[in-house]
């Protein structure tokens, strides 16, 4: 009779860490971790030694010292007596302003150009190809300084607007002045203003929110919401009875009438720029640096977006259009119900990365003197305080936060338009 013996029990030997695939991955990870830690420790200890030798330990106290430099293009109140933190905050807002403006104009331009490049009009298609290749193949920094030079050198000086034989004139019914010192546009004023809410008291992050603007936005948003309800009701009636009630005037009315009413009640009017002395007064002054950066970033990114849009449209097979028209859809319905939802899925991921690129490229503002976060925190503040480590690491952190939030928002949107597969 045979006795059943246990299979030989495998004993753990040290060499199994290397030769046994069950343990090897753990070994590799531990080694990688140790190397990473050693590397980090080496860098940190070097930094600590160097900083100690330079006599400047890490300290963010400089943020509460007065910045003593001016920021001429800004959204909020700021004076050179404000702190470095305030300056960085103003710079951050400037970065966001140019990024948002740039993304909007680049998208509009890019979509138009991308569609026109597919046009069956030979000359328009060629012209758009020229545009795309011309802008894509020249560095964006060159475009920024180039457009800055165009603005400064070719536009009329404010004094050209003066006198009886003025060589330059204001545009759009004397409301917009385009000069070599920047563009003056009308500003919105309210004679029965509700005032502002002051947030964060007198701290460096103080922030005014205009109640007028809030009220207008709330009324506008409410109008759009009601208009949407009306549209849904029309959809429902159409599904039940087959007849669609005509609602466009109702929908327009619920948006326009309350908003208009609020504007009238608030005493909305424009403050126009006027030539006084050597320069224009009143209105909103958009400086050359902002305009150059905005234009260059939009034109440059638009070339990339145009290619994305073109590729997105070309990716939808012709059969889709034909099938949709065989179902009896009209051409605008084909576009909005069949082509666009599918093309968007192809377009959105690269579009996100182009928005990110535009935001990161806005840091080139430093080349034309637009005071964004790079110009304030990574520029003058760094040079004045000599705190390279703190300012640059903080600057990177800010950009990282912006980038990650943009990609988070856009990924969320992408998720919502994605094909729902099993």
């Amino acid at each position: 009779m045979t006795t059943l013996t246990d299979p030989p029990k495998e004993q753990f030997r040290l060499s199994m860490l290397l030769y046994d695939t069950r343990y090897r991955s753990a070994t590799i990870q531990v080694i990688a971790m140790i190397c990473f830690m050693l590397m980090a420790a080496w860098l940190i200890s070097n930094t600590a030694q160097n900083l100690a030798a330079l006599g400047k330990p890490i300290d963010f106290g400089f943020f509460s010292e007065p910045a003593s430099y001016d920021i001429n293009q800004r959204l909020l109140d700021y004076s050179s007596r404000d702190t470095h933190l305030r300056a960085a905050f103003i710079g951050l807002l400037n970065t966001l302003v140019v990024a948002v403006l740039g993304c909007i104009t680049a998208t509009i331009l890019g979509v138009i150009i991308g569609v026109l490049r597919l046009s069956n009009n030979w000359i328009v298609a060629r012209l758009m190809t020229f545009y795309v290749e011309g802008f894509r193949n020249v560095p964006v920094l060159l475009w920024i300084v180039f457009i800055m030079a165009i603005l400064i050198e070719t536009l009329p000086a404010p004094r050209a607007f003066r006198g009886d034989n003025a060589t330059a004139s204001m545009m759009l019914g004397d409301s917009v002045a385009v000069t070599n010192r920047g563009v003056y546009v009308p500003e919105a004023l309210f004679s029965n203003s509700l005032g502002n809410i002051h947030l964060f008291g007198e701290s460096s992050l103080r922030f005014d929110i205009s109640l007028d603007l809030m009220l207008i936005l709330i009324v506008l948003g409410g109008g759009l919401w009601v208009a949407n309800l009306l549209r849904k009701r029309a959809d429902r009636i159409q599904e039940q009875t087959g007849d669609r009630p005509v609602t466009w005037w109702q929908r327009l009315a619920v948006v326009v009438i309350p908003t208009g009413l609020v504007l009238v009640l608030l005493g909305f009017h424009f403050g126009y720029p006027e030539l006084k002395g050597f320069n224009f007064q009143g209105g909103t002054h958009l400086r050359n640096s902002l305009i150059a950066l905005w234009l260059a970033l939009s034109l440059y990114t638009a070339a990339f977006i145009a290619e994305i849009v073109r590729a997105g449209i070309l990716a939808i097979s012709k059969g889709q259009t034909e099938a949709a028209s065989a179902l009896g859809l009209r051409s605008n319905k084909i576009m909005s119900l069949v082509i666009l939802p599918q093309a968007l899925r192809v377009i959105i991921p690269p579009l996100i990365s182009n928005y990110l690129n535009l935001t990161k490229n806005s840091s080139l503002a430093i080349a034309v003197g637009y005071m964004d976060i790079t110009g304030t925190l990574g520029g003058i503040t760094m040079n004045q305080t000599g705190r390279e480590l703190e300012t640059i690491l903080l600057l990177m952190l800010v950009y990282l936060t912006i980038s990650l939030s943009i990609s988070a928002v856009m990924n969320w949107y992408n998720e919502s338009v994605k094909l729902k597969e099993r």
Partner: protein, 437 residues
């Protein structure tokens, strides 16, 4: 039976198509004026072309090629009678004639221009077996492998033993690896090989270079980094960054795809960090912080620091491109490699990477174009790339105020480089498209 009046028995001759659908007229009707909207677009574009050309062409064709200063150009233009509303109108090409060589080479010693030129010609030779793999014998790859050591030697000069020592590190690493992987495991081999190479580079190679240089001083004149400038600098940064970022990018991409949790998170963290910050902040790190991160007393050259940061930057983007290539491979390729009993590195080397890299060549080329364009950013931290040089040229009293000519020339050169590369990448895409799917 009803009689049919007429039955044609012979074929009619073919008739000419209507005159309005053939020839130039027909083409214009079909492509330019097919409906009212297209007609408006055509007319608007024609007007735009006319407006742009009539503004630019008279400016471009200006007889100032021999101008010696901006004032001299203005005199020539006044004599030629091209005076507009705002003074003379016309380009001042004298600045390009006088400074084009500086825009290309910066302050590199003029008697040594042959070295960068030779380096770039050899670059083309080294790249040929990679770029046009079907037309050039693959034996040339040996030269491509040696080229990374020739290139810096030609540009920076100095003793030949430096690059030889650098190459020696790879050889020693390889020898140790093959010896160790035969007697022990391949993982041990990799670790020991890397350790041996590092020991050689950081400890021994200094003595080796010193000793050999005193015995056999072979070398060419050394050129300092601060003399580098112009397009030479841009191309150098671009080429070095791409060449170094390719292996780094492959490692990062493999790390990001791997099952090893810690390795994966380190790679993801690195890639997302680099891609989340603008290049200019990394260049600030190069110009101010990198020395703080190094052991006390280290002080290395600004161009080397910029090269390191641009390489890290390019590597993160490269990793994403290669990850795309890896993701595009059908899963069957991985399973096929597994079923043949290949281990991870064998599968990567023999099956996965050759295909993934081939798919990602267009992406690699466009990353290169991006990095090449981004090299203009180094002008912000004070290096003399073409844009930085244009400011230096304007600081000369003779050329104070020359803007368009310089920017136009720089833009044209960038356009030629980048457009050429993008055409090449499109050619590749077409060529590669036939094989797959």
């Amino acid at each position: 039976m009803s009689d049919i009046g007429f039955v044609r028995t012979e074929m009619l001759p073919e008739r000419e198509p209507p005159a309005s659908t053939t020839g130039a007229l027909g083409w214009a009707r079909a492509n330019l004026f097919s409906n009212w909207f297209n007609s408006i677009l055509t007319l608007a574009s024609l007007y735009a072309i006319y407006a742009i050309l009539s503004a630019i062409l008279p400016w471009v064709f200006s007889p100032t090629w021999n101008g010696t200063s901006l004032n001299n150009c203005r005199e020539i233009l006044t004599a030629a009678g091209s005076v507009g509303d705002h003074g003379t109108s016309g380009a001042c090409w004298g600045v390009i004639r006088e400074r084009w060589i500086q825009l290309l080479f910066g302050f590199y010693p003029s008697e040594l221009y042959w070295r960068p030129i030779l380096a770039f010609v050899l670059l083309a030779v080294a790249l040929a077996p990679v770029l046009f793999a079907d037309k050039v014998p693959s034996k040339m790859l040996i030269f491509s492998g040696l080229y990374p050591f020739i290139f810096p030697w030609l540009l920076w000069g100095g003793t030949i033993w430096g690059p030889v020592a650098a190459l020696g590190g790879f050889v020693i690493g390889w020898v140790v690896y093959s010896a160790a992987s035969k007697t022990m495991s391949s993982l041990m081999g990799i670790l020991l090989g890397a350790a041996a190479a590092l020991v050689w580079w950081f400890v021994l190679s200094g003595y080796f270079v010193g000793a050999l240089d005193s015995i056999l001083p072979i070398g060419i004149e050394a050129v300092e980094s601060r003399k580098f400038g112009g397009f030479m600098l841009s191309i150098t940064i671009g080429v070095v960054a791409i060449a170094c970022s390719l292996p780094l990018g492959i490692v990062l991409a493999l790390g990001r795809q791997s099952d090893l949790m810690i390795v994966k998170y380190i790679c993801v963290g690195f890639i997302e960090f680099i891609r989340g910050v603008p290049l200019i902040t990394l260049l600030f790190v190069a110009s101010t912080l990198l020395n703080i991160f190094m052991p006390p007393g280290t002080n290395f050259d600004i161009i080397l620091r910029v090269l390191i940061m641009v390489t890290l930057f390019a590597a993160a983007y490269m990793a994403e491109v290669i990850r795309g290539g890896l993701a595009a491979l059908p899963k069957g390729q991985y399973e096929g490699a597994d079923s043949l009993g290949l281990n991870y590195w064998q599968a990567q080397r023999l099956i996965i990477m050759p295909q993934a890299l081939k798919i990602s060549i267009p992406g690699i080329v466009s990353t290169f174009i991006g990095v090449f364009k981004d090299t203009t950013l180094v002008s912000i931290i004070g290096l003399l790339d073409p844009l930085g040089l244009s400011n230096a040229i304007r600081a000369d009293a003779n050329w104070n105020g020359v803007v368009w000519e310089l920017y136009g020339f720089i833009a044209l050169l960038f356009f030629v480089f980048c457009f050429g590369m993008s055409r090449y990448s499109m050619y590749l895409e077409r060529k590669l498209h036939t094989g797959h799917r």
